[in-house]
């Protein structure tokens, strides 16, 4: 009996071993090859060594721009192909952390968010391209972006495109409240509070200016406009400057707006504010009756490209809103309802707002620096810069801002970008953003906390992070 039992066990053991062997060979082995063709292959290495990889963040660079880069690159580098991969913004840092130090898998040319640039340039992730600086545009390049790509006077990343934030407003609602477009920041601050109090359409939870409480990227405009800043370099070390009197002044103005003019949640970040300025569901009822409206803000502050999301939906023959190939509802700008202006400063110039946009550079570990440089030349060529402008993206080279056009969006974009500022070029800036401290700081101000006290508290939290 016992002997028999043991025998069974041995058999199962052996059968198992055989099964594993078979499995590793057959089961686990083959599908990999199948999937290889289906899934595609990342990274620069492999595929013969005649492929250059470009990582673009998000979908801002449109298809025609990508096609242009590919065909030009392949024209200039015979026998080479350009592979463009899109990395979602939210995954970019994780992917850069792992792939960029890895010579075998690094992308050759990489787009990074402008505020992420210092973190990576400071650790040597990018190739020194100071020798190309003049050739790629030199001092015509947007200087605030050049600075965040610079370490010890050497250029590692250069501006790719810029966006800027300006105000979108409901012309009709402002008129109904008897208000005009303000010329100074003080006027603006008063106007949005007045708007909210008058609430001409008696909308529930109406915001004169809809500004998310934790939305510090828009909120810092008030800091910058009052001469304040988030951090500065003192004797080589970075210091958080939330307690600076000018910063405090801006934050207090912001607090009044948050409390009296904005009904946005205090923990709201960049939550698509354009939802609240559209009449979204006016077209929604089938019997064409308008039961309610989602319009709940007379003014929002948003990056320039938001204008594609603002307007009245274009209704197709089937009674449904038409959509673009990405499935986004196509909206038609209606000048009777909507308008734009740059946030004014108190000195007659537009207020310095936070410039969105990104930088681009060559990975230090790239195995094909020559070809990568050739791609950089194409990106900074006159044609491509003009194409960027044509697509509504602020071109890196200021000589080509005209390509943005002459409409009101181009005007507001250029006006606001003229004076725009970036977050500090501190090595640890990405850590500051990742820590969520700024969201909390601005959110707590929106909640009505004591500004000076909060500023002191968060200075202490942020200063150590800034050093990287």
């Amino acid at each position: 009996m016992m002997k028999g039992l043991m025998g069974v066990k041995k058999t199962t053991g052996l059968a198992a071993l055989a099964a594993i062997a078979a499995l590793t060979l057959a089961g686990c082995g083959t599908p990999e090859e199948n999937a290889g063709t289906g899934g595609g292959k990342g990274g620069a290495a492999g595929a013969g060594d005649t492929e250059l990889t470009l990582w673009l963040a998000g979908g801002d660079t449109g298809d025609d721009l990508r096609d242009y880069l590919k065909s030009e690159f392949e024209k200039e580098n015979k026998g080479w192909t350009l592979k463009i991969e899109t990395i979602d913004w939210g995954d970019l840092v994780t992917k850069l952390n792992t792939a960029m130090p890895d010579a075998k898998n690094t992308p050759d040319v990489v787009e990074v968010g402008n505020t992420q640039s210092p973190t990576f340039t400071n650790v040597g992730a990018f190739l020194d391209i100071s020798d190309m600086y003049e050739e790629l545009g030199g001092d015509d390049l947007l200087q605030s972006f050049v600075e965040v790509g610079e370490v010890d006077g050497k250029n590692y990343t250069l501006p790719y495109y810029f966006g800027s934030r300006y105000m979108f407003y409901r012309v009709d609602v402002w008129q109904e409240a008897g208000l005009e477009v303000p010329n100074t920041l003080d006027e603006f601050n008063t106007a949005v509070v007045t708007l909210t109090e008058k609430n001409p359409r008696a909308i529930k939870d109406f915001s004169g200016l809809f500004l998310g409480g934790a939305d510090w990227r828009n909120g810092i405009s008030w800091v910058f406009a009052n001469g304040g800043d988030l951090a500065k370099q003192e004797d080589g070390a970075w210091v958080s400057t939330l307690s600076d009197p000018n910063t405090i002044k801006g934050l207090k103005q912001l607090q009044i707006i948050q409390q009296k003019a904005s009904m946005a949640p205090v923990d709201a970040k960049d939550q698509s504010p354009w939802l609240y300025i559209n009449d979204t569901d006016e077209a929604s009822e089938e019997d064409s009756s308008v039961t309610s409206t989602s319009l709940s803000a007379a003014t929002i502050m948003a990056p320039g490209w938001a204008h594609w999301s603002i307007g009245d939906p274009v209704i197709g023959e089937d009674g449904q809103p038409e959509r673009n190939p990405d499935g986004v509802i196509i909206r038609e700008w209606n000048p009777a309802k909507f308008g734009v202006f740059a946030l004014p400063g108190n000195d007659g110039k537009p207020a310095p707002v936070f410039a969105g946009g990104s930088n681009i550079g060559i990975s230090a570990k790239s195995q094909h620096p020559e070809q990568a440089k050739s791609l950089m030349k194409i990106i900074f060529s006159d044609e491509y810069q003009q194409m960027l402008g044509g697509a509504g993206l602020g071109p890196a080279n200021s000589q080509f801002v005209d390509s943005l056009g002459t409409d009101e969006f181009a005007k507001a974009l250029i006006d606001s970008a003229l004076n725009s500022k970036l977050t500090p070029a501190a090595p640890g800036w990405a850590a500051v953003e990742a820590s969520g401290n700024l969201e909390e700081f601005f959110g707590k101000i929106a909640q009505g906390g004591d500004v000076e006290e909060l500023a002191r508290e968060y200075d202490q939290k942020i200063t150590p992070l800034l050093q990287g």
Binding site: P101, V123, A214, A431, E440, G468
Partner: protein, 326 residues
């Protein structure tokens, strides 16, 4: 579903064996020669665990004693800094707040899940088959939802602007829920998180406990009833002790899983709340370590959390071992 499957019979037999206190195994020491079969059998599992985990876990342990940031990731030499990372963790007040919050959150969630799961299992045991099947299928569907999809739906249900929950509340006459932001206040945030996590975890517990219940013989219960025990007494005095091994293991697993909950909290934080007020261990490690590129710190925190988990679970594991449930 067949009512009598071979598996269930097999389960009965097993319950009998465990109940009779007969431990596993009849091979082992004392046999002639070296019994290599069990080692061959665990070899593939050990191999895959070693292959996939040995290096990362070892790396994590070593890195936890280093100053390791983004610069080191990009090739600069990483220097050992002894216990600095650990000292920093232990001396940061926030860490302990997060630990306390996580433990409380984990216990509340684990016990709620097991309580509700057990309740549902008991309910399943008393209702007619078609209704039981309906309930089981609904639970299965909920269980089958991918977590990203789950979070998307729940985030939307609780959305302050278009959320269905607010709409319901208003329909019921609670007008203050117009544009109510569920995520702003930490307690309310945790309540939402608890609802989601319990919702996701209950099906597993309910099925496991139901399995245990089907093995409780009806005759014993009837006998107890004849002896005058009421429903609650029968449940606490007869059913619970019989399904105790199941309950304990399910509870242990829930505690382990809920203590390291990450995705749900992270995706809720993406929508709202102030992270420093709502962080649990998983998101705290991620934010302070990985997010800030302080990888040495993140590694030390992971080790710290592992130690806390083991300490917390140890007495429990020991009692499980004593009962031969392990």
């Amino acid at each position: 579903m067949k009512t009598k499957t071979p598996a269930r019979d097999a389960g009965r037999v097993d319950a009998g064996r465990v109940g009779a206190g007969r431990g596993p195994g009849r091979g082992g020491p004392g046999r002639r020669g070296f019994a290599w079969t069990p080692y061959v059998l665990i070899a593939p599992a050990v191999a895959i665990l070693a292959l996939a985990l040995a290096y990362p876990v070892g790396w994590q342990l070593v890195t936890s004693f280093k100053e390791f940031g983004l610069a080191q990731q990009f090739g600069q030499p990483a220097e050992f800094n002894g216990l600095d990372n650990y000292i920093k963790i232990v001396t940061t007040g926030e860490t302990w707040m997060v630990v306390v919050r996580s433990v409380v959150f984990c216990l509340v969630n684990a016990f709620l899940t097991v309580a509700i799961g057990t309740g549902l299992a008991t309910l399943m045991n008393t209702i007619a088959k078609p209704i039981r099947l309906t309930l089981q299928i609904c639970l299965l569907l909920a269980w089958a939802m991918p977590v990203v999809a789950v979070m998307t739906v729940w985030n939307w249900l609780f959305d302050w602007n278009h959320g269905t929950i607010n709409w319901f509340a208003i329909q019921l006459g609670a007008d203050q829920y117009w544009h109510h932001n569920w995520l702003e206040k930490p307690l309310s945030f945790y309540a939402v998180a608890t609802i989601i996590i319990v919702w996701m975890s209950v099906p597993f517990v309910a099925f496991s406990v139901y399995a245990g219940l089907t093995q409780v013989s009806g005759e014993v219960l009837e006998a107890a009833q004849i002896d005058g025990a009421n429903g609650w007494q029968r449940f606490t005095r007869i059913v619970v002790p019989l399904i105790r091994p199941v309950l304990m293991i399910v509870l242990l697993l829930q505690i382990i899983w809920d203590l390291r909950v990450f995705t749900q909290i992270r995706m809720l934080q993406d929508r709202g709340s102030f992270p420093s007020q709502t962080d649990l261990l998983g998101t705290y490690i991620y934010r302070e370590g990985v997010g800030a590129n302080h990888f040495g710190m993140a590694a030390a925190m992971s080790v710290f959390v592992l130690i806390i988990t083991i300490i917390a679970a140890w007495p429990y594991v020991r009692s499980l071992m004593k009962q031969e449930a392990i």
